[in-house]
Amino acid sequence: MVRDLAALFHLAARNVFRNPRRSLLVVLTVAAGAGSLFLFDGFNTGILNQYREGTIHSRFGHGELNTAGYREQVFEKPWEHWIQDPTPIMDKLKTLPGVQHVFPRIGFFALLTKGGISLSGRGQGIDGAEEAKFFTKLRISDGVTLSDQPDGILLGQGLAHSLGAKPGDTVTVLANTIYGSINGADLTVVGIFLTGTKEFDDSGFRIPLSVAQTLLDTKSIESIALGLNTLEDWDPVSKAIAGPGSGLEATPFAVLDKVFYQNAVDWLSSQFQIIKYIIFFIVILGIFSTVSTSVLERKEEVGNLRANGESRLNVLSLFLAEGALLGFAGAFLGLALVLIFNNTVLANGFVMPPSPGLTRSFRVFVELQPSSALETFFLGSACALVGTAIAAVKVVRLSIGEALRAI
């Protein structure tokens, strides 16, 4: 069987050089298809990775911990469902493999006042010094990020603009304590951030956790955001800390940012699948068209093969072997060209305009994936096989007499 296959591919390899121009056309067709798929997959991966890293390193970390059931409903007194004693939990988290940073947080609503302007805002009390080390994608458009300033406030760009505030200005933050009384703090604007999510930029602000806890008169925290070594660490960490009976639940960033991140991932993935099928169809059609001519020219050869005892399957196998060789060559060429193109022309990436829901453009790098290379190689080769099979099967199915009537 091995010898037969070797003989088959030996003849097939000779046959592909019978008409070099036509074979080159098939190879280039497959190369264009495989290369396009590989490049587009890399582009998609680059965008999704950008999205992901942006989401993780600007707002949510790899995910957040809350008390069990906290995110499933809206509470009249949410602070009663906060993490009352966060210290043991945070201490335990810091010992888990994969955990790089632990960020205690409080979320609350408040009124911000500057001059004669008062606006409502959505605040976060954070450990500024710790968060500054991890949330590096939070773009600061003016001033500096909130770190260890004891009475600093970081405003969203839209909110700052509406208040007419800039770094150095004083803003008064008024909030209800958990007991219902009103509390206030005068804070100094240290910087203005821009996440690109308009909804957040127009109402969000950040203050030190200790100031937030004083403002709300509580020692508890609403959530703990996590910064991990890798994305793969999320599952074991969340299982270790928020398993059954722990009273905690862990929510990954993809769910926290479902509207933008997860929906964007799903949408782009679906789009890629559709484009993949379109490319397949075009490549198969191109190959079918080219190979059909070749097969028709070889009708009497097919007749001769059949007359001398070759079965239909034998004859089809010969054409398929030729298609496979051209497919392999084309797919390999396509991948190689894209690799070279990406490392030269696209080495510095390119700027993409803001995507839906965002307000800032970003630079994308095409991230070619080895797994995608393998998949694309086989899919490109498969296209060549399918195109060849469709073209060849009609002639192969002819009776010997019909095939030889060309003579």
């Binding site: 003989a7 000779r14 019978r18 009497e300 007749g303 001398n308 079965s311 009776s399």
Partner: protein, 254 residues
């Protein structure tokens, strides 16, 4: 005289080609017997049915009406697998346009159809070279068809048919693509090989030169059998599957 078992027996054989909704008759209720060990030529003008008859005997066209017996066994109703087996082992084919693989050398062309016969690579190569030597092309074994003349290519095609050690060689207009001199050489070779190798040669041709080599001429016109002319001058060497004939007789119409 020992009775020789017929090689082919056609009984009430008819054939038509479909042309859209119309059926074009090619053969009409033909009865014919071919004996082994001789060269038979189907002769007639274009459209007489000679190639059709040849292809039916070669299991290239199906038996639509009537029957064909090969060595006493009916060929009608054989499965595709059975037909393949007969074509592989019993029949060798030679076509007008040679139909060689341009990308293979002469010896590779000859050994190509030996691959399903269970021979080792060495045996296949040996058979192929022997066949090429028999047709006088031993020195050109490594040349490709495009490096050869028309006559040489047809010799390679003959060698390819011979290498299978067939019982019958089916040749459809073997000299049509060749000049007169080359055609004569080819026919002479076929005739000689038929005698020395004990192979029955059945050919279709409209060329009087080709006909002159045949021991039996079957004349066809418009799908009807007109005449069977036999020349019983035997120079066939006895072979395992051929009964020796020693009578000499002039051409006579049967």
């Amino acid at each position: 005289m020992d009775k020789v078992e017929p090689l082919f027996q056609c009984k009430n054989l008819a054939f038509h080609y479909p042309l859209g909704t119309v059926e074009v008759p090619a053969l009409h209720a033909l009865d014919l017997t071919l004996s082994p060990g001789q060269m038979t030529c189907f002769a007639g003008p274009s459209g007489s049915g000679k190639s059709t008859l040849l292809r039916i005997l070669g299991l290239i066209e199906p038996i639509q009406t009537g029957d064909v017996l090969y060595r006493g066994t009916s060929l009608k109703g054989l499965s595709e697998k059975q037909k393949n087996q007969i074509r592989r082992t019993e029949l060798g084919f030679i076509f007008q346009h040679f139909v060689l693989f341009d990308t293979l050398t002469a010896v590779e062309n000859v050994e190509y159809f030996l691959k399903h016969r269970g021979f080792s690579a060495k045996e296949k190569r040996e058979r192929a070279l022997n066949a090429l030597n028999a047709v006088g092309l031993g020195a050109q074994a490594r040349q490709r068809p495009r490096q050869m003349s028309g006559g040489q290519r047809q010799r390679v095609a003959i060698a390819r048919a011979l290498a299978k050690d067939p019982r019958v060689i089916i040749a459809d207009e073997p000299t049509a693509s060749l000049d007169q001199a080359t055609g004569q050489q080819i026919m002479s070779l076929l005739s000689e090989l038929g005698k020395t190798q004990g192979v029955t040669v059945v050919l279709a041709s409209h060329d009087p030169m080709a006909m002159s080599f045949a021991q039996q001429i079957v004349r066809l016109k418009d799908g009807h059998l007109q005449a069977v002319e036999s020349r019983s001058k035997l120079t066939v060497a006895p072979a395992a599957h051929v009964a020796p004939r020693t009578e000499e007789a002039p051409w006579c119409a049967i």
